[in-house]
């Protein structure tokens, strides 16, 4: 079965890519290529759900070896699948979203000339992603890791005639490579320390090596910390964490289904998956874990601030993704890997939904992406409008605290914030993450609702021609929206207790389940009852004042109630601010005001993404070009050639004359004389010496 899950997408990619495109003869016309790739993906998706049930509930973990790969000395890595719950969850995420995106692309890419190529790329991506998540060793993981990078490169640059798309594709690949170098060095360090790159062997030997000190670049570092840090650098690149995040917003140059699949739901979460997969290492590396918490929290904050002011509908969602990935990382950093995976799982549904909705809007408005030229189209695209509202309710985490009623994001984001709260007693990074996470939640709500209001409400601000032609998308695009909406509504409530370990042994050792209970398990309790509960729980030592606000400190499943309540308060506050700014106020006026005044320092700082791209341009990019030129013109041509061969030529008088002889056809003679001379020399020399 797992062979099918992983290789069906590859088969689809090969068929569509080799037979369907214009490589040589086109054996497969467009439609069959699309049917084959999409059909195979749906089969794989259904099998993935089967596998989740088998593994998550029935605990049928498996190891499947497909083919020998590298086998040099102790360095052994096979093409193999390791199936546990962690993998099964990823299989479901990847194949579900991918199959829906395939279907959606039937509509979205309708006018494209090269559909088989597009579908081949999508399937190829899916295959690489599946290799990544099923890997049983670090090298195959690296294969998948770079494979998705390649597919991402190809899909970002899909509109290859656009210079900006090409630039974005290269930027994505190269930035990811920076991270990949970290990952590669991490894998090498693992091999050096453990003598193996296979997960099981490595994780089993962590106890024996946790105190080892390694020299690295002139420093003496604990081996586990070093490995953890290097692997995390890889994760930072792939998952667009701060300082390596620059490629993700630009990646929006790709077609929107691609953004939904690769740059929201699956590929960018590979970093989170890596940290979860390697969690035994991170458990042994507290310093790095703190670093991850801090970076994750900072990214959550940073990306949210940038999203506040962006005008491109896709860029808003892109920064939102970046920010949500930050949440996942700080959850992983504080050791709540299951919360991180849970958010990854729910996020895949609602973020893919948001992107596909944005795609539907863009499709309706003839590739208009600037929200300043949208507005008031909710009547034109009712399905999209409702789906996007659902997605927004999910990402902003709307639900009733203390109960199991809420949208998907409500459960997962709260689980993360609670995990950070739990950790804040021990680490400053976690405390930082907790508060930053709350502030980012406010901003998330603001920019998400701002997007809705600017796009669907108010008056249309583009030209009327576009509005007249605006239309709801065909059913192939609406069906994925509906299915993902279902996911965005129920994925949290249904899976909460399993992911968080409250019901059944879902993970079965694939991930540790953090101790302590979590809220909203199964039995909802009334607020009144909670207020009655005396806070006798010694788990948290908050003072519990009585009186009017005593219920805020009442303990609900191990957390003071205010911790459960605050994310919701933040979310609603964000909504209210957005409401006042964009529903009560006039969007036109705001746009004009900004155009007249320039928007102020802070606005521009955010609009220009903290000027990080500019910073890289004047430092790294310039330096590379400068060094390249200098090494070439000065190093090679002036110094090496100047003092080397050319210098010799000048020195040897008459060289020029001899050279001209070569030119006039004496070359053969010259060469054969040389050979003869060498032969004679050797014979004479050896005879003389030896004889």
């Amino acid at each position: 079965m797992y062979h099918l899950i992983v290789f069906l997408p590859l088969l689809g990619a090969a068929l569509a890519g080799l037979m369907g495109t214009r490589l040589g003869k086109q054996f497969l016309p467009e439609k069959p290529s699309m049917i084959i790739t999409t059909g195979l993906l749906f089969v794989a998706a259904i099998l993935s759900w089967v596998s989740l049930i088998q593994v998550g509930l029935g605990h049928k973990e498996l190891e499947v070896t497909v083919l020998r790969w590298m086998d040099v000395g102790g360095l052994q890595a096979n093409w193999a699948f390791k199936i546990d719950t962690l993998t099964a969850v990823m299989l479901v995420v990847v194949n579900s979203v991918s199959s829906l995106v395939h279907l959606y692309s039937w509509g979205y890419m309708e006018d494209d000339e090269y559909k088989p190529r597009f579908f081949a790329y999508l399937s190829l991506f899916t295959f690489a992603m599946l290799m990544l998540v099923t890997s049983d060793n670090f090298i195959q993981l690296f294969f998948g890791w770079e494979g998705v990078g390649l597919a991402s490169y190809l899909l970002i640059g899909y509109y290859y005639k656009k210079p900006s798309a090409n630039a974005a594709a290269i930027k994505a690949f190269v930035t990811n490579r920076v991270g990949d170098v970290g990952l590669a060095l991490g894998v090498m360090t693992i091999f050096l320390v453990f003598g193996s790159v296979e997960f099981d062997t490595v994780f089993a030997a962590i106890g024996d090596n946790s105190a080892r000190i390694l020299p690295f670049l002139g420093m003496e570092i604990n081996a586990m910390e070093l490995i953890a840090m290097l692997l995390f650098i890889g994760a930072m690149g792939k998952s667009a964490q701060f300082i390596l995040h620059v490629w993700l917003p630009d990646a929006m140059e790709g077609p929107t289904p691609v953004s939904a699949l690769i740059h929201a739901a699956t590929m960018v979460t590979a970093g989170v998956f890596l940290v979860c997969r390697a969690h035994p290492i991170y458990d042994a590396a507290p310093i790095t874990a703190g670093f991850i918490t801090a970076i994750g929290a900072f990214t959550a904050f940073f990306a949210a601030t940038v999203a506040l002011v962006q005008n491109d509908i896709k860029r808003v969602i892109a920064y939102s993704t970046c920010s949500q990935l930050g949440y996942m990382f700080f959850a992983a950093g504080v050791g709540a890997y299951n919360a991180a995976m849970f958010h990854l799982f729910t996020h895949a549904f609602f973020k893919a939904l948001l992107f596909l909705c944005a795609g539907s809007v863009i499709h309706a408005l003839h590739h208009e992406q600037d929200m300043r030229r949208m507005g008031g189209i909710r009547k034109k695209v009712p399905w999209t409008y409702i789906a996007m509202i659902i997605g927004t309710l999910a990402i902003t985490g709307i639900g009733i605290p203390g109960t199991s009623i809420g949208f998907a994001g409500f459960f997962s984001k709260d689980a993360i914030i609670e995990a950070a709260y739990t950790g804040s007693g021990e680490s400053n990074a976690a405390a930082f993450a907790f508060w930053v996470g709350l502030i980012a939640a406010l901003m998330t709500s603001f920019y998400s609702w701002r997007l809705i209001f600017m796009t669907f409400h108010g008056k249309f601000r583009g030209d009327h021609h576009t509005l007249d032609h605006a239309h709801e998308s065909p059913w192939v695009m609406r069906l994925p929206l509906v299915l993902l909406s279902i996911g965005a509504v129920f994925a949290g409530a249904v899976f909460y207790s399993r992911f968080m370990g409250n019901a059944g042994d879902f993970w079965h050792g694939a991930l540790p389940v953090s101790a302590g209970e979590h809220h909203a398990a199964i039995a909802p309790e009334t607020l009144h009852a909670m207020a009655q509960v005396p806070a006798a729980d010694a788990h948290h030592s908050e003072p519990t004042p009585g009186g009017l606000f005593g219920w805020l400190y009442a303990n609900v499943h191990g957390y003071p109630f205010w911790v459960l309540l605050l994310p919701l308060v933040m979310s609603i506050t964000g909504f209210v601010i957005a409401w006042f700014m964009y529903m009560r106020g006039s969007v036109e006026e705001k746009i004009n005001h900004i155009q007249e005044t320039g928007g102020g320092v802070l606005y521009n700082f955010l609009l220009n993404k903290w000027y990080i791209d500019e910073l890289y341009n004047v430092t790294v990019v310039k330096l590379v070009k400068f060094l390249g030129d200098k090494f070439w013109k000065v190093g090679d041509e002036k110094i090496i050639d100047g003092y080397g061969p050319n210098g010799v030529a000048k020195f040897a008088s008459g060289a020029a004359k001899r050279l001209s002889k070569i030119q006039t056809g004496y070359l053969y003679h010259y060469a054969f004389i040389m050979l003869l001379g060498v032969a004679v020399l050797i014979v004479v020399a050896f005879r003389g010496v030896g004889g």
């Binding site: 495109t21 214009r22 490589l23 083919l67 020998r68 790969w69 590298m70 086998d71 040099v72 000395g73 360095l75 090298i139 690296f142 294969f143 770079e146 390649l150 640059g157 290859y160 005639k161 090409n166 594709a169 290269i170 690949f173 190269v174 170098v181 590669a184 060095l185 090498m188 091999f191 050096l192 390694l214 020299p215 690295f216 670049l217 590379v624 070009k625 060094l627 390249g628 030129d629 090494f631 070439w632 190093g635 090679d636 090496i640 050639d641 080397g644 061969p645 010799v648 070569i662 070359l667 053969y668 054969f672 050979l675 020399l681 050797i682 020399a685 050896f686 010496v689 030896g690 004889g691």
Partner: protein, 514 residues
């Protein structure tokens, strides 16, 4: 299968003999017949190199991979005085023979249309070149090796000098000057070894089997001899800073010349290090390895940066070759299994990948007669097949997992990492930079709007080009997915090499401790 037959001599000399015959027949025949002969010479050359390729496949299949020593050995008297005609192959050399035999027919096939004048001489030059290169890898006698090793330059020199571009004289002169410098020093070292063997064994010998296993050169002398060999191999590699001949040679060479140059001639240096420097001068190798490390890391970073700024397609690929060879030297001088296996793998893989890249440059050069990057753009619209092949080999050049480029790179870095993280760290920068220059090249010529009117009618790949590039593409992926094809064959010999190396170096360490 070949017991009793001098199979190695046959595959070594068959092309040479046929080449010389062709030349002679052409000289004595009438002018009209000469023209016909020139046409047919391509077929003859294809046939001969095809037979050699076929035989070398059988040779590899017949090769016993469990044995570390030399196989198919031939040993006949030659010059006397310990200098005899000795041939044989082991796991390290046999695959280079296969690579040579594989690339040569492709080169000849590719040249059939692109070479217009002096076709017969061109074919003869290629056949002779094939003979000499195979000879280098077969030779088991130091003097025989040296003869082949130096003689290889001559046909290459001629190919560049006669069928090259505008600046061919400068390029071939530079090529010649660099390599001459190395050769002279190596010759001196060989003569010294010859004398020394007489002292140690009572009678002089240049039998490499004896020298490798039993020669015991004192420490100080080892250093000098190592440096002398190094001078020659470093130029051939080429290592920084003696690499500047390569870009010029590539730019001027005809397509097939570039393929052979990058695909095979660059491997002679690495092979030399493995065959001589490590076994004959183990202690010097160990002591002087830091030089190699630093030169390699510099080469990887420096030439990658230079590659990024190139305006000529061939120059860009040539500089990238230097960077890739940096990984080879790093791997070899890591002295461990992963490193050396990685170095060998990287050489073979680079032979296929860079060979293919030069073929690809040749495809558009044949159509437009320029290699200027700025001239091209948006080729994917006109040449989708070309773009697809180009993408595959670009990714292999970048070292994407799943292609052969990755295996060599990661193995040699794993090897180097065990010696020092610093080195692996430096080399890892090459991973980033290779993406920078390779994708830059790809974007400039394949993607974008087609801006040049001259490119309006450019045709996609012909049947011939398909036939040439398909096997290379298959091999690139096959080796990336199943690298054991190579590592199983080289395994035993490399393990043996390392075992001997460790024994020799630890002996000294023991001797130093009183």
């Amino acid at each position: 299968m070949f017991e009793g037959y001098p199979i190695l001599s046959f595959i070594t000399f068959a092309p040479l003999v046929v080449g010389v015959l062709l030349m002679v027949i052409s000289k004595i025949s009438k002018p009209e017949a000469q023209e016909q002969l020139a046409k047919n010479s391509v077929l003859v050359a294809l046939l001969v190199s095809g037979v050699v390729f076929f035989l070398s496949i059988i040779l590899v299949l017949d090769f016993d991979t469990t044995q570390a020593g030399f196989q198919f050995v031939e040993d006949t008297p030659w010059l006397g005085g310990g200098i005899e005609y000795r041939m044989g192959v082991d796991g390290i050399s046999i695959l280079f023979i296969l690579l040579t035999a594989f690339l040569t027919p492709l080169c000849i096939f590719a040249s059939q249309t692109s070479i217009k004048d002096r076709v017969l001489e061109y074919m003869v030059a290629f056949l002779i070149l094939e003979s000499l290169v195979i000879g280098v890898f077969c030779a088991l006698d130091l003097v025989l090796f040296y003869l082949f090793f130096e003689a290889v330059l001559i046909p290459m020199f001629i190919i560049i000098g006669v069928w090259g571009g505008k600046n061919r004289v400068y390029a071939s002169y530079k090529f010649f000057l660099y390599t001459l410098f190395g050769s002279v020093l190596m010759l001196a070292a060989i003569i010294y070894i010859y004398n020394f063997s007489a002292q140690q064994f009572g009678a002089p010998t240049t039998d490499m089997r004896v020298l490798i296993n039993d020669l015991d050169i004192p420490g100080g002398v080892q250093t000098w001899l190592w440096l002398a060999f190094f001078a020659s191999f470093a130029v051939k590699m080429p290592m920084w800073p003696v690499h500047t001949w390569l870009p010029d040679a590539h730019v001027e060479a005809p397509t097939a010349g570039s393929v052979i140059l990058a695909g095979i001639l660059l491997k002679l240096g690495g092979y030399g290090f493995l065959r001589f420097s490590l076994p004959l001068f183990p202690n010097a190798s160990l002591q002087l390895a830091p030089i190699i490390y630093w030169l390699s890391v510099i080469a990887i970073i420096y030439t990658s940066l230079v590659a990024y700024r190139q305006k000529d397609m061939k120059k860009l690929i040539a500089y990238s070759s230097v960077a890739h060879m940096g990984f080879v030297t790093l791997g070899i001088f890591a002295f461990n299994l992963q490193g050396i296996q990685g170095g060998i793998f990287q050489m073979l893989s680079h032979g296929v990948v860079s060979g293919a890249l030069f073929f690809l440059v040749g495809v558009v050069y044949d159509r437009m007669h320029t290699r200027e990057i700025a001239f091209y753009g948006g080729l994917v619209s006109k040449m989708p097949v070309y773009a697809a092949f180009f993408l595959l080999f670009t990714m292999a050049n970048v070292g994407l997992p799943g292609t052969s480029g990755f295996v060599g790179e990661i193995l040699s870095m794993v090897g180097a990492y065990q010696v020092s993280p610093w080195i692996a760290f430096g080399a890892a920068f090459g991973m980033i930079l290779s993406a920078v220059y390779a994708l830059y090249l790809y974007r400039e010529i394949i993607f974008g709007e087609s801006v040049n009117e001259k490119l309006e009618d450019i045709a996609d790949m012909t049947k011939r080009e398909w036939i040439i590039l398909t096997p290379l593409a298959v091999l690139t992926i096959l080796l990336g997915v199943y690298p054991s094809l190579i590592t199983d064959i080289t395994g035993a010999s490399v393990e043996n090499l390392i075992a001997n190396f460790n024994a020799a170096t630890s002996q000294v360490a023991l001797a130093e401790v009183p």
